[in-house]
Amino acid sequence: MERPLTQHLRKDNKPLSLKEYEQVGGYQALRKVVKMSPQEVQALVKDSNLKGRGGAGFSTGLKWSFVPMNAPKPKYLVANADEMEPGTFKDRILLEQTPHQLIEGMIIAAFAIQADQSFVFLRWAYKTAAQTILQAIHEAEAAGYLGKNILGSGFDLHMHLHTGVGRYMCGEETALLNSLEGKRATPRAKPPFPQVSGLFGRPTIVNNVETLCCLPHIVSHGAEWFKKLSLTQDAGTKIYGVSGKVKKPGAWELPMGVTLRELIEEHAGGMQDGLKFRGALPGGASTDFLVEEHLDVKMDFAGVAAAGSRLGTGTVVVLDDKTCPVGFVKNLEHFFAQESCGFCTPCREGLPWIEKILDSIDNGDGRPEDLKLLEAHTKLLGPGNTFCALAPGAMEPLQSALKYFREDFEKHINEKQCTYSKIMSTAV
């Protein structure tokens, strides 16, 4: 089983130095790329069927193709390293342990769209990663991989690190760009897309860290090889993760399309003793629950979608049978309500309302009509109705919880209390 992104990680979790990275073939892809035309790089990545690993699963090559190639400089490439989707911790590994892989990926992407400026937008909490990335940028600059006339190709690229100041919204690419411009991280209307009017109103591509890390390997080994890494139609490997009350929570690079069952039962070691699997968010907080009947779902974009959810970030949060689903969803909605930017009405006003209702139900103060209100909101806050995807994302776990765990909600309301003992606390 090939694990191109993570096979060379050091056992001690320390970052690969430039030298170590070069020894395992690092920056060879870049040497190849600078001899290609930007269009060839774009075509290669498009052929590879690489889809964005940040959650939306959009074709990376296609995304690049909307950048006007003849637009004057500056053009920007931004690595979205603002990993803040609750339950998600996959990019952290790449950022902390293999920074040059990211940098090489970024240079390749920048070359493909002929960007001359690049930023790593890193979430503030990743203190170790910040040092690692900064160090790696300096090393790459010194080695001539960054800066002017990279490898004698005439291609220039400058790279900067920006650490955020805490806001889930920054994961949304246009809000991220606003934040990079020193503004409030509210999302922008699309169109115009960032490819046309992005950072500082210039053509810009924002790609996820894991996506960028795939690029050197696609260039080195070809599109066909990349496709074959996967068990399904969606190419490549995927860094999956599992958290919650499983025996061995963690993250692993696996072929795209492994089943949810394999993830939980094999890689995460199964449920903790005495607990049963009740459901899981397959790709972070803003994805619909999958339940027992979905355990054999293939964890790729199409597979999870067919089961009524989204692959999202591919990091699974497991709900066990001793944890209250109402409390679980309340925690999620509290998060979304807090992280709403306050720009559009449904999100700003709807999410706190939902949180209050869930809180009432959880505290035994729920009313039968509350469920109707919650259900209505899952539709009212659907895609297109709100300005960005935050609120629709927030509705995914709620709508599926109302579907799969309805009896729990009803029981809370009927018995005017939460019947789950606070058993979970004892795990600590």
Partner: protein, 154 residues
Amino acid sequence: MLSTEEIKGIEEAIGVVPYKKAACIEALKVVQQHRKWISDESLKEVAGYMEMSAEELDSVATFYNLIFRQPVGRHVILVCDSISCWVMGQEKLKEKLNERLQIDYGQTTKDGRFTLLPNPCLGTCDCAPAIMVGNDLYRNIKMDGLDEILNKYE
């Protein structure tokens, strides 16, 4: 008055963006690093340096979770309250911290040692529950290990 060091940090940030204002978040970060929080006075100093109005800068400052516009203690404890940590017992952990420090979220201990804040997801969900104290991340926290962590901070 901004210190020479603060100005140096701010100037560095200004260097990578096309116009001054765009570096305002960096500027706030630099000053917060030195002063722990952004007082109204600090805000105005930074605004003046960045050629912005206090309003324009505060609009940005108050948007973000981690620009502190109120005084904080010597060490800020951020308790991850997101889903994986919650499943793994974050509420209990929070109660323990409340009890131990005699403060709730948003408060600072009387001796100015700690400020306790909730925080959405620290990105270490496989090692839940987690907290950050200052720049240090603590994972897989056990209740009986809490004192040991807190004792490291004066």
